[in-house]
């Protein structure tokens, strides 16, 4: 019997996941020191490897509440370089705007990272390769994905902590929509919406499951996210070796129930863990950092009883 792909291990035979929460943070803090200290505990196999950081740069964000903050991206890049990675690239395919340069200018990424020409990859315009999907939650069957994403050794999802008006929340799993190239599917990547957002999230993550996740929860977004909500101070970074466990933890920090978020609940069968007993929690406890996020009325059922 063929062995399942590494991303597709049933939850009952998957080893425990590790998630760390660090709090009391601001973008002006020494985030690289915090992340380095935290990631050392994970003993990640990145020495000599090419790492791709996939932040969430969904569109223009002059107020700094929609996209992963460039300070977090910079800190993550510094951290992986200190851990011995041979190259740390940043790749994103903004969903709503094809002028990626304009998006990067709006968040002042260059001020944090210096010249971007050698380290930033516009995944919307990258060369692509056909990938037959390993799961069939949606009717997509196959996707054309950027060669950069398929070719790196270690993939890190680097989203922002936000509510989402269709999916409930958008975290490290939903962030992977950004690897689907606009150059093949448009701006927005509407084929994914028509295939069913929840289902497409599962298929994409089964095809290119992030090896690690770092969530920018220092300032998140509540209400009508992912772009039209209100900013929400939360002051945390949540990191882990299982994107499903990281998303479940973030959801609990937001005062919501991951078991009731369709795609996270379904991801728990094959892609990772959501049950607290299967997640080794390090750093701060969830209860000590919990910050209830407002949600649209359509998602009132996601709220946990405090």
């Amino acid at each position: 019997m063929p062995r399942p792909a590494p991303s597709l291990i049933p939850s009952f035979s998957r080893p425990q996941s590790r998630v760390a929460i660090r709090n009391s943070l601001a973008y002006q803090s020494d985030l690289a020191a915090v992340l380095h200290e935290t990631l050392l505990e994970f003993d990640l196999p990145v020495r000599g490897k090419t790492v791709l950081l996939k932040p969430n740069f969904v569109g223009f964000d002059p107020l700094g509440m929609t996209n992963t903050h460039p300070a977090v991206v910079h800190a993550a890049r510094e951290t992986f370089l200190r851990l011995g990675a041979s190259a740390v690239l940043i790749g994103e395919g903004p969903a709503l705007e094809r002028d990626t340069h304009a998006v990067l200018e709006s968040i002042r990424l260059r001020e944090y990272l210096g010249p971007l020409s050698q380290i930033f990859v516009d995944l919307n315009l990258d060369d692509v390769e056909r990938v037959r999907l390993k799961t069939h939650a949606s009717r997509l069957n196959e996707l054309y994905l950027p060669k950069t994403v398929l070719g790196v050794d270690f993939l890190v999802s680097l989203p922002k902590l936000k509510t989402h008006h269709w999916a409930g929340v958008t975290l490290s799993l939903k962030n992977m929509f950004g690897v689907v190239p606009g150059g093949c599917y448009g701006w927005p990547k509407n084929a994914l919406h028509w295939a069913g957002i929840d289902r497409a999230i599962l298929d994409i993550n089964a095809a290119v499951r992030p090896d690690f996740a770092i969530v920018d929860g220092i300032i998140g977004m509540e209400g009508n996210g992912p772009i039209q909500g209100q900013s929400k101070n939360c002051g945390v970074l949540v990191v882990g070796d299982d994107p499903v466990a990281v998303d479940a933890t973030c959801t609990r920090i937001m005062g919501l129930l991951p078991e009731k978020i369709n795609y996270i609940a379904r991801a728990a069968t094959l892609l990772g863990h959501i049950q607290p007993a299967q997640i080794q929690q390090v750093g701060e406890s969830i209860s000590s950092v919990q910050t209830p996020f407002a949600v649209l009325d359509t998602f009132a059922h996601l709220k946990a009883r405090v």
Partner: protein, 307 residues
């Protein structure tokens, strides 16, 4: 400045006659279409003409049997790129048959929300609408069977407006009319357009330069419409804060198309290119070349397959 852009295009053309999005990447129909539109617009040297000629043949070979063009050679399904490939080949007699088939596909290709099933479903879920747009108006989608959006609709209209009038069937004229109505309907409350969501759950959408420019270019036959005037005013107000070369080039294009040239903008664009900033991609460079063209022939209607 235009020489810098045209030189870049000549230098980055692949052996197969096409262009990828970046130097050295695989040829695809969209960057090839934009490069050839820019080269034909200038066509000042034999090298430009030769490069364009090779590109025509790349586009010719990339067309699918149903008349459409895919986004990538590996894909076997039509897309928004069909409008751009038609635009690139318009005016070339040798390829008029190809263009007619392309337009035929565009006229037949309905977005998902125009389908019967979707319309029936909409009758029952009307109360749950998240936006304000009138869904009886539809334009063109990015990919087959998905919803109408501002940019692909604008590309199709720009292409149709450049088509010889005798090629425009009744269906084509109807699609053009409904597509324009869709664009007017999708304008953001304060003027300008984003990808196509003027309002979500009661919150007004923020307009974006690139989407606004494409919509304005598509609607340039209606310069007196209040929506157009309001959107031009919005764009005018944005001009000094645009920092990316692509958006700046597009903004110049729109202002030129409405007879409001702004020489300082062109200088600003030149400065950005001299700084050799990031993300030189082929469409962006082609737009810069088009922005600096004083004739804007690429937007004009062709007759009998010729400019």
């Amino acid at each position: 400045m235009e020489n810098t852009c045209l030189r870049f295009l000549l230098d980055t053309q692949n052996e197969d006659g096409g262009w990828g999005f970046h130097t050295g990447s695989t040829s695809r129909a969209e960057p090839t279409a934009w490069a050839v539109v820019a080269l034909v617009e200038w066509a000042s040297t034999q090298a430009h003409k030769d490069a364009a000629f090779r590109a025509f043949h790349f586009l010719d070979a990339a067309q699918l049997p149903d008349g459409s063009w895919p986004t990538s050679p590996a894909l076997r399904e039509g897309s928004w790129v069909t409008s751009l490939a038609c635009l690139a080949l318009l005016g070339q007699n040798e390829f008029s048959g190809k263009v007619k088939r392309g337009f035929g596909w565009l006229c037949k290709d309905l977005p998902g929300e125009a389908g019967l099933l979707h319309r029936i479903v909409r009758l029952f879920v009307a109360r749950k609408k998240v936006g304000t747009q009138n869904e009886s108006y539809f334009g063109w989608s990015w990919t087959i069977g998905t919803a109408s959006w501002v940019e692909p609709t604008s590309y199709a209209i720009i292409s149709m407006r450049a088509t010889p009038p005798e090629w425009m069937s009744a269906t084509a004229k109807r699609r053009l009319r409904i597509g324009e109505a869709m664009l007017f309907d999708r304008m953001c409350p304060g003027g300008g357009w984003n990808c196509g969501n003027p309002m979500v759950y009661g919150v007004p959408g923020e307009p974006q330069v690139s989407s606004s420019v494409w919509a304005l270019l598509a609607l340039r036959e209606h310069p007196q419409r209040p929506e157009v005037q309001k959107s031009l005013a919005w764009l005018q107000g944005e001009l000094n804060s645009i920092r990316s070369p692509a958006s700046l080039a597009l903004a110049i294009m729109a202002m030129n198309a409405y007879g409001r040239p702004h020489p300082l903008l062109a200088e600003s664009l030149q400065t950005k290119y001299e700084q050799d900033e990031i993300l030189w991609d082929v469409p962006e460079v082609a737009w810069a070349a088009l922005a600096l063209s004083s004739t804007q022939n690429w937007l004009k209607q062709k007759s009998n397959g010729k400019s």
